[in-house]
């Protein structure tokens, strides 16, 4: 087999993207297509008394305008949760899902009140100004720490409080550990909200063809098959009547998976009602309050240790802001609970989670999905412990790592998939050693830093470890087909937003079948091409879908060999697949091309014998027993300008272990992008809400996504500890880069400032915050 897995292979999809020939949703143009715009609430919390669209309907070019009332029986909250709550005992969970259009009560700014459908988006937006809304503003729940006060306004009036969920997870006996401990450290940690910030906003084109009785929906979703299934059941159609296409999608990062966004329901409902194709393209301002967000937690943490820095126990009671509704269940905070344990041997753990409804945009996973918060909690606590116990920061981590011989290691709490949080494999110490070596930790801390400090320069170093649960189930599938041209088509259901699936999956197939990577054509994200699957999220493409592709390709390989053996009258063991042909190893001239074999496998004459199938094709599925856990260590050197509070990152090191590396070029790209988002989360990107639930920085001018100038060169080293859970040995890497950065940045900046008693217990930071931390709190912006 030609070795393709693990090679730096350039991407199959690039020529289309580079020449402007890749189809994105807003590129879909259909005859007679109409354009939608949504009237959204500017208020975060209000009683809605009426929406009058009559003036809008008068405007030339406006075809329709609908309110919740117009939807009649089609209006309902929901549909079912994206991820249901855990089925374990003792979990309190109050399901409240978003509505297609607000009927009686507005629960966050940005909720849609009406849809206008017009000949152009310009006219549709003109008509939004014609709509008259009658509402009564209500007091707003905008602070999760006050949301449970008895006198707090209620987001959902039928609930007793703003508590959306409550779950206590315990491992060992934390109270006893606390008793035994030499040192107990207690801190409050606050992590604010940010956006995913995909460059492409969301978009939908929905088209009902009455003659074909066929609904086609182009959608920027990360999860086309569940959207297809949901729309079919919601509107009483057969799944075969609904085709959902997620074409090229301009970045996902989490929020593009939701069941359902109101717009997905509304566009579909409207095209079914009107029989005309309708397009809605979210604009950037809408993206800031109508697309889901993440982070937003407050932790009260306690770490119990011995004097030599061994962790005896961790307690973390935290609040998680779910926004106005909770369709995504507990995925984010469960990730936080798991990742607060890190790569460490923590014998006792107690975590009390309360999920809070607020009058703000919903939170659902954004690249990292609760993990950065958990990592921030444990890593910051270890930094403080190291300082208080007089132990080196790297050393305290080394003392607490799980040893490499304990895996699989059961953490005895449940994870986001509600199964026991078992770490499949790991080898943490070498990753740390490597990172220290690369960043020259000793030299920096012993020589450079003291010298620069004497010159008045504030430089600091940070080093943190993390784990990342990846590749959760339930499953993905793939179909691999050798076509009569000898080229290979591969179909999966996952959908792609830039992860390089067209190339990585092709590498796997090409390696199995001995063809050129460029001759493997991937179809993904089109429900007409593949019927089963869940989607692209939780760093699972390279684990779950890749292994399904591998399984299907391996079956096809078997079929090829079996048929070729018969036709070439040679035992299978003596055949090899290379360069698109099957040949006898010792007699290279005795061969058949894959195309010829494909034709022979699908003869126009001659019956398919009982028990056989035509063609060289196979469909296979892969569902892991549980998720594969990647890990790594990041290190960073920063310099803080003490006069201006600006921070420059001088060096950035990543040591990543994501098991088998399928394509290092692509993996490095994933890590770069993850780190860049992490840097944004650490210092630049913070959604600022006021006490009325108003988002104060809903534009790219005020919400600061880092540019090239803010992102340093990232030096990467790979370590490979294959996952025993899948044949490829792969683990996910899509979120890895982002996860440890806020903790690392806080540590490095704190170290650079070097001010006694100055601890950074929040994320993100900003120059303004550093100024306050150094000069006193009373100067808050």
């Amino acid at each position: 087999m030609a070795k393709l897995i693990g090679k730096r292979i350039t991407r199959n999809e690039d020529p289309r993207l580079l020449t402007g020939q890749a189809l994105f949703v807003d590129d879909v143009e259909l005859p007679g297509m109409l354009h939608a715009a949504f009237l959204r609430s500017e208020y975060a919390h209000a009683k809605l008394k009426g929406v009058d669209v009559s003036a809008a309907l008068e405007r030339p070019g406006v075809i329709a305008a609908f309110t919740a009332e117009d939807m009649g029986d089609a209006w309902s909250p929901g549909p079912p949760l994206v991820i249901p709550p855990p089925t374990i005992e003792d979990v309190e969970f109050y399901t409240r899902t978003q509505v297609p259009l607000v009927k009686d009560k507005i629960r966050h700014a940005g909720e849609p009140l009406a849809i206008v459908i017009a000949e152009s988006r310009y006219i549709a937006e003109d008509a939004l100004d014609d709509i008259v809304v009658d509402l009564e503003p209500l007091d707003v729940v905008a602070d999760i720490e006050r949301a449970l006060d008895p006198d707090s306004p209620l987001v959902h009036d039928d609930l007793e409080s703003n508590l959306a969920a409550h779950l206590v997870q315990e491992k060992g006996d934390y109270a006893a550990a606390r008793e035994q401990a030499d040192k107990v450290i207690r801190r409050r940690i606050v992590i604010e909200r940010g956006i995913a910030g995909a460059m492409e906003n969301r978009g939908i084109v929905a088209s009902w063809d009455n003659k074909q009785q066929q609904l086609t929906v182009w959608d920027t979703t990360q999860s086309p098959i569940p959207i297809r299934n949901g729309l079919a059941s919601m509107f009483g159609l057969s799944e075969h009547q609904v085709r959902v296409i997620a074409p090229f999608v301009g970045g996902g990062f989490g929020p593009k998976i939701m069941m359902f966004y109101p717009e997905e329901v509304l566009l579909t409902w409207s095209t079914l009602r009107m029989g005309k194709p309708i397009k809605w393209i979210e604009d950037r301002r809408e993206n800031f309050y109508a697309t889901t967000q993440e982070r937003g937690q407050v932790h009260d943490v306690e770490l119990a240790l011995t004097n030599d820095g061994r962790i005896l126990g961790l307690s973390d009671d935290f609040l998680h802001d779910t926004g106005a509704y909770d369709p995504y269940g507990l995925t984010i905070p469960l990730n936080t609970q798991c990742h607060a344990l890190g790569p460490y041997d923590i014998p006792s753990y107690s975590s009390d989670l309360k999920v809070i409804f607020t009058n703000m945009t919903l939170t659902t996973p954004v690249r990292g999905a609760g993990r950065p918060q958990g990592v921030f909690v444990i890593e910051r606590m270890l930094d403080i412990a190291a300082k208080e116990l007089g132990i080196d920061r790297a050393e305290i981590r080394k003392r607490n790592y799980l040893p490499k011989d304990v895996f699989p290691y059961d953490n005895l709490i449940i994870d986001q998939a509600f199964s026991s949080f078992v770490i499949d494999s790991g080898d943490y110490l070498p990753a740390m050693e490597k990172a220290l070596e690369m960043i020259e930790y000793e030299k920096f801390t012993q020589e450079e830093q003291p010298k620069l400090r004497e010159e008045g320069r504030r430089v600091g170093i940070g080093v943190v470890s993390f784990i990342e649960t990846t590749g959760v189930g339930p499953y993905e599938g793939a179909r691999v087909t050798i076509e009569s041209s000898g080229k290979v088509s591969t179909a999966t259901g996952v959908g792609t937003q830039g992860q390089g699936h067209f190339t990585v999956f092709a590498q796997i197939v090409a390696e199995q079948l001995g063809v050129d990577v460029r001759d493997v054509h991937l179809v993904t994200g089109d429900t007409a091409q593949f019927h089963w699957g869940t989607g692209t999220f939780a760093s699972r493409g390279a684990v779950v879908a890749a292994n399904a592709v591998n399984a299907a390709a391996s079956i096809v390989r078997g079929k090829v060999l079996e048929l070729a053996s018969e036709l070439l009258e040679t035992p299978e063991e003596e055949l090899e697949l290379e360069d698109g042909v099957v040949r006898v190893a010792d007699i290279p001239t005795k061969s058949m091309s894959l195309g010829e074999l494909a034709q022979r496998a699908n003869p126009l004459r001659g019956a398919v014998e009982p028990g056989t199938e035509p063609g060289l094709e196979a469909t296979a599925y892969f569902g892991p027993k549980y998720g594969a856990t990647a890990f790594g260590t990041h290190a960073m050197i920063v310099e803080v300008d003490l006069e201006t509070m600006m921070v420059e990152i001088k060096r950035y090191i990543v040591v990543e272990d994501c098991g088998t590396v399928l394509n290092p070029l692509i993996v490095d790209g994933q890590l770069h992008g993850g780190v860049a988002l992490g840097i944004g989360n650490s210092f630049y990107e913070k959604l600022v809400f006021d006490e009325n639930g108003q988002l104060l920085n809903a534009s790219f001018a005020d919400y600061l996504i880092p540019t090239a100038a803010e992102i340093p060169r990232i030096e990467i080293a790979h370590q490979v500890t294959p996952s025993p859970l899948n044949p490829l040995g792969s683990k996910g890497v899509g979120e890895a880069g982002a996860i440890p950065v806020p903790a690392l940045f806080a540590q490095a900046v704190e170290n650079a400032l070097g001010v006694d008693g100055l601890e950074i217990l929040e994320s993100p930071l900003s120059p303004q915050r550093l100024f306050e931390l150094l000069h006193g709190e009373e100067t808050e912006a």
Partner: protein, 152 residues
Amino acid sequence: MKIEGEHVFNGSREDVWAMVRDPEVLATMLPGTTNLNQLSENEYEGAINLRVGPISGGFSGRIVVEDEVPPEHCKLVAEGEGRPGFFKGSGTVDLIEVDAGTLMKYEGEIQIGGKLASIGQRLIDMTSKTMIRQGMKVLDAALEERKANVMD
């Protein structure tokens, strides 16, 4: 947003007070004000087309004057909304006799929501500074005119 400041008028406290409580003067203080109606002794409603450079937008709203202690103190409570957003706020105005005339001290807090708040943060505070300064100029002029009329 907090608003706080002071301004010295070249006139007596009674004149300044009378001017501040004159709806017509108030309407000229904010250019673009239309349809200012007095609903009751202490309550006004009106519409304004605010214009700050290229930015413009119509608002309609209400102002209530409370805790009135002529000619030295009152509290203003205002709220309104329009296409660019909505606002709600209150503030106090104190007039103090000083050598140069009358010192007006004002302070208040306005909450702004909607489009203006979400994309125009950078503009709001500085715009209010400009508007207040321009408004004081108008009041200065009105005061001069008032004094001239009285003398006539």
